[in-house]
Symmetry: C4
Subunit: 200 residues, 4 copies
Amino acid sequence: MPSETSRIEAFSDGVFAIAVTLLILEVKIPPITQASLASQLLQQWPSYFAFLLSFLFIGIMWINHHRLFTHIKRSDNGLLILNLLLLLGVTAVPFPTAVLAMHLRGPGARTAAALYNATYIVIAVFFNLLWRYAVSKKLLDQSSAESAHAISRQYALGPLVYVVCLGLVWVSISLSLALNAAVAVFFAVPARVAGSRSQR
Amino acid sequence: MPSETSRIEAFSDGVFAIAVTLLILEVKIPPITQASLASQLLQQWPSYFAFLLSFLFIGIMWINHHRLFTHIKRSDNGLLILNLLLLLGVTAVPFPTAVLAMHLRGPGARTAAALYNATYIVIAVFFNLLWRYAVSKKLLDQSSAESAHAISRQYALGPLVYVVCLGLVWVSISLSLALNAAVAVFFAVPARVAGSRSQR
Amino acid sequence: MPSETSRIEAFSDGVFAIAVTLLILEVKIPPITQASLASQLLQQWPSYFAFLLSFLFIGIMWINHHRLFTHIKRSDNGLLILNLLLLLGVTAVPFPTAVLAMHLRGPGARTAAALYNATYIVIAVFFNLLWRYAVSKKLLDQSSAESAHAISRQYALGPLVYVVCLGLVWVSISLSLALNAAVAVFFAVPARVAGSRSQR
Amino acid sequence: MPSETSRIEAFSDGVFAIAVTLLILEVKIPPITQASLASQLLQQWPSYFAFLLSFLFIGIMWINHHRLFTHIKRSDNGLLILNLLLLLGVTAVPFPTAVLAMHLRGPGARTAAALYNATYIVIAVFFNLLWRYAVSKKLLDQSSAESAHAISRQYALGPLVYVVCLGLVWVSISLSLALNAAVAVFFAVPARVAGSRSQR
């Protein structure tokens, strides 16, 4: 018998997979012009940068979603709706990504970077809501108590650091995006606790 | 052994996931112009509104589909075809959504809102057809009789309220869309009955 | 333990689901112009027609793929490759669909309809190759002998009728497309045989 | 109970399925012009060629991913991340494909073909990293030792031959792409070893 959460996972996998794959559609194909193709390709580095950063972010979100659902074993209507809110954030990512790629070298760079970081704050909040709901409603596997505590602590940091990223936009856009990437890497590593399944 | 309906669910999950993720492609990236990026981003609020409304709608349809298939345990050729009709409605949603986003502030607002509501009437009818077929052909889990009755009653309301939404378009477009959103929330909550699995 | 063909089915489900959902992207959003939105929407009926026809076709192909894999229980490298060829045909469908939608009322209507039917001939041939390979390599469930025979007979008709559809393009484009749609409906109904699982 | 790698496979299946299906979006629909539709369709043969080549490549990568995960039975955080890197390569494929299709007959043909081959080198390296990690961390099925050795040997060739393809671009673009296609076919056939499951 499939587990109670298997279809939530399947639907979420689909949304993550599509969102991450749609990102490439925002990288434009240079037309045939006087300029050499190589120089045109190099010139659109902000598109590659935004693609890579968002790929990293969505990919690591998927790893985290996967990790949470190794602990979440039961489902209810609230979980379905909170998971849907999280997916709303995920599906939106290609939009701020494309805005960032288009405006990173223009006068709208600050606005674009702020929108990008703001999206991540919202997603980090939704991740916390989903997880805390699952913990408080006791939807977790019984053996997950310790890991759950470690995850709760790690996740609480998420919205905070993304708020810092957002604030940094008015100091230095590059610094803000560099911190943003560093945070993604931080969440790729599982929360530190003995006996966590995802830590082997 | 996988259940008889598992591949129907997998295919449907895919279609729902893609339809919901494609919605973001209709939100246009503002080009670099004289106007500030921030004001350009704010100006296209109808795109965000249409995106959110359709995300909500498709997401809640997915929850309902999931809920129906916790009861539907057997499959036949008629169910495959009726499920396909429902998915036809789901895949179509990005089109009326984009039409609404484009025309909500133009002279075609009424037509766009009517098209939008008409799509939802059709989908609500397909949902009823699928469910009633499954009930009448006894494709349900044996323990589902009570829940089934509650779902049948709730679903019968769907086409009716969307017809009201459509009619309201000629009274007030805003009111029509507000009711439309309220209906989605109504269907996010499972039909009221004791012992339903999705009610915990 | 998942069955040996479960990942082939999952990947194929994904491809079918995406191909069928991408079709809607080819239906263009009318811009804001002098003309009324309603008349613009009506004018692009060939887009809706092509969308519906291709949705029907891909949907029914999925039903057939699902039906074949209720019989196919083992997998080998040849099956993987033939399944991939079939999916090549499926993923290509949005292109001839969009060509048909664009040119159905123009001077290129005959060419567009011929391309459309030619795609379906190729897919029908790939379906036959996949199925006959599975039969000849004894990859089927043991209880499937009778159904297998009925399917083989039904599928042999596929390429033939699509060749007729193609030929009809030079007689009457409408007739050709009408026959095309009728063939899809014919394949929605399972091959006639006693005891087939998909016949209930 | 689902296997430990089942959700990695589901997510990867989604990404492969989407990447392979998005390829068709890069094949442009000829507009209505003076020129006959047939001649316009024929003129864009580089688009079809690039579509077919990339479909072949992604499809065969999927077969290889499927083959690897018939051996990989356990998962850890490193495997998740290396799998993500591989998927990064897969999702990127539609971009060099579209660049190749656009520039194959223009002055940028060499650059486009070099970019195309370079993408494949990167993916081949990621495939090797994933596989070697799984071997070294003993994440394989116990019965897979012999097959594992054969796969390791076959995969080691991948980056090398794609480097040769890249070098050939400065000799003959056609030759380079022909070798590229031949390599794909080579990887469609499983590594030669007795007792491999995928060799039946």
